[in-house]
Every structure is written in structure tokens, then in C-alpha cells.
């Protein structure tokens, strides 16, 4: 895997994949896409980088442990459902800003995105470095 071509193109691939994952996340509201598939894509970017530049580099680039990212995602998704307590509606009711530009389902999807990205990245990085620096 440690060829010059791969090492040179991997960051470009990762940037394109990450951007596309964000597009998928945001368009998932009305069109095919959404937090889960977008999170998988973002994780695959981290995996490609890990193969090209080494797991340590990816961990440094992420700054935060992927497990903590997954935890933050679950927390965000759970909290997005609880917003409806202030509107007198049951848990997980979708609430919208004016013009329906953004709402709690979007927050929930971002939570899913973070959870999937964090979990898959944590598993993949642990597999790549043989479970050393988890």
C-alpha cells in the first residue's frame, strides 16, 4: 500500500469523500442520502488516509478519539428528540424553524452521522493498527 501514487492521491480522495459525505448528509432530508450512509463515507475517508499515511497520523488529524465522536453523536441525536418537550409534543417529534429550512430531524441526522463515523472509524483504525493505540 505504501506506494508514492497512493500516498499522493489519498489526501485528495479523502477530501473529495468527506465533502461528498457532507452533501449526502444535507440532501438526505428530501432525497436519497442521510446520516448513516454519509457517516460510512466519511469513515471510509479516514480509512483510506489510515492506509496511506498511517493510523497515528489519522488519530492526530482527528484530534478527538473516534469513540468520543460516536458518544457525542448519540448524545446529539437523543437531545434532538428531547427538544419537543418545550413544544408540548412527545419525544422525537419533528420541529422546524420558519420556512422549514432546518429542524430537529436534521439535528438527529447529524447525530447519526457522527455516531456512524465515530464507530466505524474506531473499529477500522483499531483493525489497521492491530488494536494497539485504541
Amino acid at each position: 500500500m505504501n506506494t508514492l501514487i497512493f500516498r499522493t492521491t489519498a489526501p485528495i480522495i479523502a477530501v473529495v469523500t468527506c465533502t461528498f459525505s457532507l452533501i449526502l448528509l444535507l440532501r438526505g432530508h428530501n432525497d436519497p442520502g442521510g446520516g448513516f450512509i454519509a457517516g460510512l463515507l466519511a469513515a471510509s475517508a479516514a480509512i483510506v488516509l489510515g492506509m496511506a499515511l498511517g493510523v497515528g497520523t489519522v488519530r492526530r488529524l482527528l484530534r478527538v478519539n473516534p469513540i468520543a465522536i460516536a458518544g457525542a453523536g448519540v448524545l446529539l441525536a437523543a437531545a434532538s428528540g428531547a427538544v419537543s418537550a418545550f413544544a408540548g409534543a412527545p419525544y422525537l417529534t419533528g420541529l422546524w424553524l420558519p420556512l422549514h429550512v432546518f429542524g430537529t430531524p436534521g439535528l438527529f441526522d447529524i447525530g447519526v452521522y457522527l455516531t456512524v463515523f465515530g464507530t466505524v472509524t474506531a473499529i477500522a483504525l483499531a483493525l489497521e493498527d492491530g488494536g494497539e493505540g485504541a
Binding site: 478519539n65 469513540i67 468520543a68 460516536a70 458518544g71 457525542a72 453523536g73 448519540v74 448524545l75 437523543a78 437531545a79 428528540g81 428531547a82 418537550a85 408540548g88 409534543a89 412527545p90 419525544y91 422525537l92 417529534t93 419533528g94
Partner: protein
Amino acid sequence: MATHATPLADWLVILPVLLCLGGGALLLVLRRAPAWQPWLCLAILFGVLAVDGLLLARILASGPVSMTMGRWLPPFGISFTADAMGVLFATMSALVAVAVVLSLLGEAPESAVRDGVYPLLLLLMAGVGGAFLTGDLFNLYVWFEVMLIASFGLVVLAGNPLQLDAAVKYGIVNLVATTLFLMALGLLYGALGTLNMADIIGAAGKADRLVLTVIAGLFALAFAIKAAVFPVNAWLPASYHTPPAPISALLGGVLTKVGVYALLRVLALLPTERAMLSPAITAVAIATMLLGPLSAIAETNLRRAVGFLLIGGIGIAITGAATAGAVPGAIVYVGQSILVMAALYLVAGLIERATGTTDTREMGGLYAASSRLSIMFFALVLAIAGVPPFLGFWPKLLLLQGLIGAGDWLLALSLLLSSLLTLIAGARLWSFVFWHPRHAPLLRPPSYAPAILLVGTVLLLGVAPNLLIGIGMVAAHDLADPARYVVAVGLAP
């Protein structure tokens, strides 16, 4: 779409799950602050305990509480519906979880905290709370999976070969059980077109009884594996004694009871099918309640022996799924058994730490050395066997009343024989652990306080059982006549 406003008080239904889930996620984020973890975990569990208590008080005062997620109308949205049975078990489980965290406080090694024992514990409690409070069968399956994954993590946490071996057996058998559960769900959805528990009650009357009986049998098999009913119980003695004692207290006290709960709940939704399955369930109940304590008599590993006593209790608890008359007794039995079994696992852990061995033949001499351990163990053995005025006596009395009232002498006699065998097994453990002479010096075990908390509660509920029996009666009434339950969800009875 539901248009009426949801009062904030209804959020009590979802809060036990939400607190545990959010708390577990928060602890994952804070994994770099191990010093905070136990205290946050403890605070969250006290919150859950308080919410469960409030919910229980409300249900006793005014009947089941329900909330359907996302403002959907009931049979289509996912309902969380709390009735007295679910909340009683959830409250007992939360109390056990508090005691478990207290006993992990000083004892959990740093590596276990780093690997996430507290987030896993909270996720396990989220699964347990969800399973007890949900009003939707598919949602029940989801919480079973949450519970299985979290408990799998807790079993392998220390990562020694014995635990990995246990986790493989535990994991594979339980995956088979959840797969059977999922198949039964698909078939039930095909037959009835709904998985909302309240809706099933109404829809079941219009479906083919034979098909429903097969489906109910599949459900019963899946939950029997989860609950460790003979002959599908072999995974429990192979796994529950391997993790640290507080963890096995949580697994032994709570997890098998979720299987019993699901069995009681699902068969109560399909009473005609329950009557068809009754002979089979009666047979396995009798086998389980007799073989459990018999195996405990022959066992020399202390916590494995406790596991066999636990299996005997499961046999007694599932009589509630065999005969309608036994339901109140079975509910009270499961409720108290959560506390008693967890306490017994904790005390067994303390004994193992004090003697430095897990083999009962090498223990001994504790009677003179530790009066507190002797008293706690003795009280718990009497509580399990059902000697008055200890806690186990009252549910067994209710069970006997129900069984004899229904003319079910075979089950009644088996129950008495099972209690006798349990007493013999307990007394045998007692004589090995406490009375045999001892030559090696005793080690200093960790804090007694969490075990004292649980044993104290057991003793207190034993001399003042009215509250527990009252809750059991309300729960059994709502199970037999689900009109209040169905109306609470928002469907026509």
C-alpha cells in the same frame, strides 16, 4: 397526527431510557476523565431510580401511562407504555444498578474504567429500561439487542481467556435467541399487521388461532433461552460467574428477569395461545425449578452454584406464563428476585475476595471471622428458599394460593419441593463456606456497604411486604384485564 398537547409529566415514561442512553453517551465523550465517570454514572442512576419511583407512584394512583413517539397515532407510532409490572421491575433493576456502581467504585481496576465499564453499564440499563417500558414488540427487540451488546462488552472487559470463552457461549446462544425473536416478530406482523402491544390484544381475536399458537411458541422459545429455562439454560452457568462479582450481580439479577418479563408480557397478550402452550410451559417450569437447585447442591464453584439457584428461581417465575392464577405471585417473585439474586452475587463476590478462592471446598471458617458476611449470606439463603418472614416467602405464598386455587397440584407440589431443595443447597453452601475449619488466614474484602444496602432492602421488604404485594396485584389485574392499558395507549378497548 395527534394534536393534543403532551403534558410534561408523561415524559416520565421515556426518561429512564433517555437518562441512561444520554448518560452513557456523555461518559463516552468524557473518557479522558476517568475520575468523574463513577460519580456521573451514580448520579444518573439515582436520577433513573427517582424517575422510576415517581412513575410507579403515578401508575398506582391512576393507571398505565403511555407516550407515542413523534406525535404519530398509536398503532403506527412507537409507543412507550408503562404499567405496574414493567415499572416495578425497572425500579428494582435501577436499585441493583446503584448498588453495583457503588461496589465498582473502589474495586474496578483503572483499565476497566478506561475500557468503558461505566458507559457500558449505563447502556445496559438503557436496554433494560427500554425493554421494561416499551409498548411495542419490535422496539422490545431493539432493546434486547442493546442489552445483549452492552452485556457482551461487560463480560469480556477484563479479557482473560475464561471470560472470552464465557462470552463466546453467552453471545452465540443469545444471538440465536434474538434471531428466533426476530423471526417470530416477522410472522406475527404477517398474521396481525401490527406489533403495538395494545393493538395486538384487539387484533389477535380475528386471526387464525393455530398460526398464532405457533408464533407464541416461537416467542416462548426465544424468551426461554434469554431467561435460562431448562433445557436451554446451559449458557448461564458457563458465563455468569466469570466477570467481576458486581458485574455478575447486574447480569444475574437483571438480565434473565428481562427474559421472564418478555415471556409473561407476550403470553399475556395472547391468552388463548397461552392456554394451548400451558402443558409445555408447565413441564419445563417444573424441570427448571427442580434441576436448578439440584445442580446447585452438586456444584463446588460458589458463583456457579448461585447461578444454579438463579435458574431454579426462573423455573418458579415462569409458572406465571403457564397458569393465569399464578400471575400475581410470579410478578412479585420476579420483582423481589432481582434484588435477592443481585445481593447474593455481591455477597458471593465478597466471600470469594475474603477467602481468595472460588472453590467452596477450600473456603471455610468465615463464621468466626466475619459476622457480617455470615448474617448477609444466611438471610439471603432463607430469602431465596422462602422461609418466613424473609422476602421470598410472600411471592411463594401468593403462588401457592393461585396454583391451589386453580387446582394445579402438580405445580404447587413442585414449587414446595423446589423450595426444599433450594434450602438444602443453600445450607450445604453455608456449611462449606462458613462452618468448615480453615487454616489459611482471611484476606480483606472490599467495602461491604453496597451488599448491606441490598440485603437491608431485602430484609425491610420481607417484614413489610404489603407495598410489593399491592403492586403485584395491580400489575396482575392490568395484565389479565388489559382495558386500562389499551385506553392509556389511546386505542379503543
